[in-house]
Structure formats: C-alpha cells, structure tokens
C-alpha cells in the first residue's frame, strides 16, 4: 500500500510495505504453542503477514525474531515541527559568534544528577577530549565550564549555577530505571522555578532516553539524545544565548 497524502508507514523494500522487525522474549518454553503465541501477540501489535523467522529456547523462556507488515500509519501533518537541527557551525564559528555577539564567555555547569553514576555522556560533551572526534566544551575558549561529575543532587547543581553565575545548566541521565530520570528531571525544573532561577538559565538535558520532545515536555529548553556531539550542544548554546539578547 502506497503512502497516502502525508500518511507514512515503515519502508522495507517497497514504498508503503509497512515491513518491521520485532524481537522479544516470552516466558514459556519453545514449541508450536509458543510460536503461535508470538504470532498472535504480533497481530495485537498491529502486524499482518507475520513470519516468525527465529525461535530459540532459553530454558523456560523463548526468544523470537519476527517480521510483519504494520497495518498502522501516522499522519505527518499532525506532528508539530520542532527545531532540532542547529546550524552546522564550526568550532571557530561558534567561538566567533559568542565573542562578537555576547562579548564574554558562556558559563556552563554540568552534572549527572540524582543517583546516576555514569558520566560517559556528560564527559563526552564537557571534557577537553570530547567525543566523535570533536572537542568538548572545556576546549572552547568562549565557554567557561564546571563539570560537577556524578551523583550530584539537584540542589547542589543549582547552588553551583547560582554561585558561578551560570548561563546554562547541562544535566545528563544515563542509567536509570523505573523512570527515575523523569522524576529527577522534573524536580530540577521545579526547584529552579521555586528559586527564581528558571528564566535566567538555559537548562538542557542529555542521555540515551532523552530527546527534544521529552525534554521540552518536562520544561527543559532542549534535549539531546544518543550520538550528540559537543559541537551540536555548543552551537545550540551559542545561538540560544544570542536569541535571548
């Protein structure tokens, strides 16, 4: 079925074929019954022409890989545009923009908040070394950065932001469970508002489960997901600071 108007569905090898791959584990042993259970489940997930291409017994559990054609489509016209692509500025252009328009350094405080001990993402963005072949914010002459590291309580982060007169706060949430990160992120925004800091700060979140939609929904100015490079964050901060002038 071809995509109709602005309706889109997955593209496997022909337009509109709706082909998707799904894998999951069921808590039963492998066999004809398990296979049928997987097929029926896929049907309820909205797949037709389901093929179970792989079934493996995991001692009381069974692992499946399935292909099917998804019967649903989404209407692109009903999804609002969000600004997620910043202008691709280079390292020098970013520093130049800040120097010219702001005439001072942008002060950034970053932390992994709550109980999260994983600083991989934060370090990738903030540390000198950076990530993906691009330098971190520390390396930018026009950024003044404070990396507070892991397991920082929200109140400590905000106190530091106040102390150093931060322009921006970066929060990283990597490993969380049972949506602890949502609670933690929401709390930060509430605290910033309660302390009257919110409007003076650009507050952004990053991590494997963060995206622009989620972040703005939680009251952040922006959200950055997996694969983000420091330059994207730097470009966003520079341009947002300029916009706020």
């Amino acid at each position: 079925m071809a995509a109709n108007g602005n309706l889109i569905r997955p593209y496997g090898s022909t337009p509109g074929d709706g082909q998707v791959q799904v894998s999951f584990t069921l808590p039963i042993k492998a066999g004809a019954r398990a296979r049928e259970a997987a097929k029926q489940l896929a049907g309820k997930m909205g797949l037709s022409d389901v093929q179970v291409v792989h079934m493996k017994d995991l001692h009381g559990f069974t692992y499946f890989i399935l292909y099917g054609s998804v019967v649903h489509a989404v209407d692109l016209d009903r999804i609002p545009q969000v600004e997620e692509e910043e202008l691709a500025l280079s390292f020098d252009q970013i520093n130049g923009l800040i120097e010219q328009e702001l005439g001072r350094q942008i002060v950034v405080v970053g932390a992994c908040t709550g109980t999260d001990a994983h600083t991989v993402g934060l370090d990738a963005i903030m540390n000198m070394k950076g990530y993906g072949g691009e330098y971190g914010l520390e390396r930018y002459p026009m950024f003044d950065t404070y990396n507070l590291g892991s397991q920082v309580p929200n109140e400590v982060l905000l106190a530091k932001a106040r102390e150093v007169g931060a322009d921006a706060v970066l929060v990283s949430q990597v490993v969380t469970e049972r949506n602890a990160h949502l609670k933690n992120l929401t709390e930060l925004i509430e605290m910033a508002e309660a302390e009257g800091l919110r409007q003076d700060l650009i507050i952004i979140a990053g991590g494997p489960r963060i995206d622009q939609f989620l972040a703005t929904e939680l009251g952040f100015d922006a959200g950055f997901g997996p694969g983000t490079t420091p330059r994207q964050v730097a470009a966003y901060l520079a341009q947002e600071m300029v916009r706020r002038l």
């Binding site: 001692h59 991989v120 370090d123 070394k129 969380t176 602890a180």
Partner: protein, 521 residues
Amino acid sequence: MVNELLVLDQKKVDQARDLARAIAQNVQREIELNTTVSIERTAARLYGIDGVDRFGVPLPNVVVDQVLEAGGLDRGISYWLANAVVALGKTPQAVAEACGEGLNLCSLPPQDPEKWAAVEREYVPKALDAIFEQRKKREAAKERLGVGSEPLKYVIVATGNIFADVEQAKTAARHGADVIAVIRTTGQSLLDYVPYGTTTEGVGGTYATQANFKVMRQALDEVSEEVGRYIQLVNYCSGLCMPEIAAMGALERLDMMLNDAMYGILFRDINMDRTFADQYFSRMINAYAGIIINTGEDNYLTTADAYEEAHTVLASNFINEQLGLAAGLENWQLGLGHAFEMDPKLKNGFLYEVAVAQTIRQIFPQAPLKYMPPTKHMTGDIFMGHVQNAMFNLASVITGQSIHLLGMLTEAIHTPHVADRVLSLENARYVMENARDLGSEISFKRDGIIQKRSEEIVDRVVEFLQEIKQLGLQGAISAGYFADIKRPRLGGRGRDGVIKKGLDYSNPFLTELKKRLGLGE
C-alpha cells in the same frame, strides 16, 4: 601458557615494575598511619556482629559511630568490644545489641588487659578460620567440577531484586556463563553502611548485602552441579564500605571482587586517604579468602581516549599489582583490568587494541586479566553493537585474556534483557570457539604496526611512571594523571571517616592476617 606474540624490552618492563613498586611503597607508608570507620566496622563484623538496631541502623555502625563520637576510635574498635565482652560477660553480638539500646562502650571501666587480650585471641582466629574454610570449600568445588575455559565468560545481572537476579543468573549459566556479577544498586558505593537482609528493590542493580550474597551463592552452587562447572560469583568491594564487603564476601564464599586501589577516588570522588587505607585491609581479606580481585582500569577509557591514554591503563595495572602484592594478594589473584574502547572509526583500531591487550598479557603472564567490552562507542545501534562485541571477543581469544566481561548489544540502552545476555553468550561462544587457537598460530611482524604500537606504549608507561614517582601517587591523582580526572588530596567523600591511629591502636584481625599472609611488619 602465554603466547609470546610480541617482543618486549624486558629491561623497560622491569624498570616500570620497579617504579610502580616505589610508588606503592610511598603510598603504603601513609596507609599505615590511618584507620577508617569502615575498617573498624569490618573488625566489628569479624567479631560476629550483624543485624540492625530498632531504627534500622546496622549494628557495626552503631558501635563504631558511638566510639568515634566519644573520641576513642584511634585505639581501634577491637579494644572497646573486647573490654565490654569482659566487663559484661556477653558475646560481642549481645554487646552490640546492648549498644543499640543505649549502652556506651567508652563508659565501661577498663578491664584487666590480660582478659580482654584473651577475648581477642578467642575471636580473631575463629573469624579467620571461618574465612579459610570457605576458601577450602571453593577450591574443592573448583577441583571437582572444573571452571569454564578462558576467557571466562562473565555476565552481569542487575534487576534490583535478588530473587529475580537468581533466575537470570541461572539462565545465563545454562547458556554458558562462567562468572556472574550482581551489579550493585546505583549509589550504594556512597553509602557509609552496608544494608541488612535480602532486598527486592534497587535501581540499576541490587543491594550488596550479606544475605543477598548467601542467596546468590546458594543458587549458583545448585546450578554449578546442574551444568557441571563451578560458576563464580562477583560483587563490588568498592566505595565507602570496601573492607566490610570484603569480609562479607569472604564469609559467603564470593569468588571474585571488583577491588581497585584508585577507582573510588577517581570515579566516586571518595577521599584518597580513605580509599587507600580501605583498599589495603579489604585486599588482605580478599587475599586470605582466595578471592580473585578485578581492578577497574577499563573505566579510565570511558572518560579518556583509548588510543591516547592506553599507557595510563598499563601504568595503573603496574601500580595495582604492587599495591595488591603489598596486601598479600598473589599473582593468580590479580585480575588486572583493561578495556576494548578504541573508536570504531579509527583506521587499524583493532590492531592497536590487540597491541595493548597482548602487551598487558605478556607483562602480567600469571594474572587473570579482566577484559572489558566496548561501552563508550556503543551507540544504541544494536546491530552495529553486536559486531563491535564480536571484534572484542576476537581480540580477547587471540590475546589469551582470562576474565571476559561480555559486551551487550543493548549497552547504553537498558540493563540487559534475558535474551540480550543469551545473544551475547552465543556471540562469544561462536567467535572464541572458531578462533580458539589463532593466538598460538600467529606472530606479529617485527617491524609491523602492532609491535611498534606495543613498543610505544611501553616507552610511554616508563616515562609516565617516572613522573608519578616524582609527584607521588596522591600528587599525580590531584594533577589529573588518570582518566583526565583531578581529585585533591583533602577533598572527596568519607574523609571524616579517616582517623589517625593512636599509639595504643590495635586491629588484631589485621595483625593476624599479616601473620597468616606472611607479610612483614
């Protein structure tokens, strides 16, 4: 049997080892000056003190905090407990329970020194004998059932619920896992107490408690019989309660412990005097318990670049080796760590990775090296991740690594699903069996990329260790020599739990361990 694929300059290796020994000796002198609240709580635990008071505070904390507040901890908790045992005619456990009800150890009258010394002579060997019993039990089980073939396949369970962990661990063992690590709940490393009892609520992991250790060891004993090989259990002897966890693990027959001399300082911002003192006593216990430690150099490469900073990993291996030997660990117990964290986009990255892995293998031929999988460059593209893990598995089998933490295709997404772990085990089995003897079939070109890279790293490690020796290890850490992280000497968590030993300080467990481990004064 280590394949000599690289030509090492033995003189430089010896020089590096001598430098590391000198660095470790300087740290060791400082270690001897201090005790910590966690070392003293460990002594309390070895007296058999366990359980919590009516507010839920663990009794080892109750007794130690009380003596600390009264200013008596520079004498060591052992004296105060032994004195109370004599004064009240109760067991240490009953004394601790009484403390929970308001008894003050420091207000009891001093007893005849001969009498409280006799209490120490009764309880100290009893505790250490119990630890040695567990060691013999493990050795017998390993002998009878055997362990898997190296690289040992090591997987992690982390549901938060010890009983669910048990199910996942058994499934993993049935699919070929040799070693099971129960990841701790997020944040436990910064708790200055060890929670009590079995637990079913954790975030990103499961609380390390003595009761949880017991539950998991028993389950693994059962599955060991079923699969016909001894499945080893790992936990985390790190954070603010390092030596307490060592004691608990020794008593419950854990087989390996993550136990690094510097990890807590760098990655958990724990005070360095605290960590150095704690790691020493914890390693003595691990040494005597026959536990294999795993060091955490892999973590350096999550913050620093794997190509640029490879020599810092090797330097830290040398330092961990020397601090380990100083605590009585033997070479077969030193699971020195490193990691496969080379950027996948780097041309010849695999060759550089093999160069490091093989260099470490040849420099520490008796050590059960711990090789960690890619994490930094795992993107969420699970298919690519599965391929990266296959390359890691290949590097591991070629270079003869010992303890191989399996990479998960869903790294950086979630704690592994049961199927993720099985996919990962199948990947490892396939690659390792298909390339089983590749390492003994090949040699590297004398002037090739791998040999040259190895030489470069050894050269750099010698220079790097020379600089560290100049600065002292504490100074080097303050200056950001490891993992690009700077930690000031007087900063960090847990510093208020470091106590300068008094002239009358004694820790009879430490003294007896020294004797049994053959460590000189």
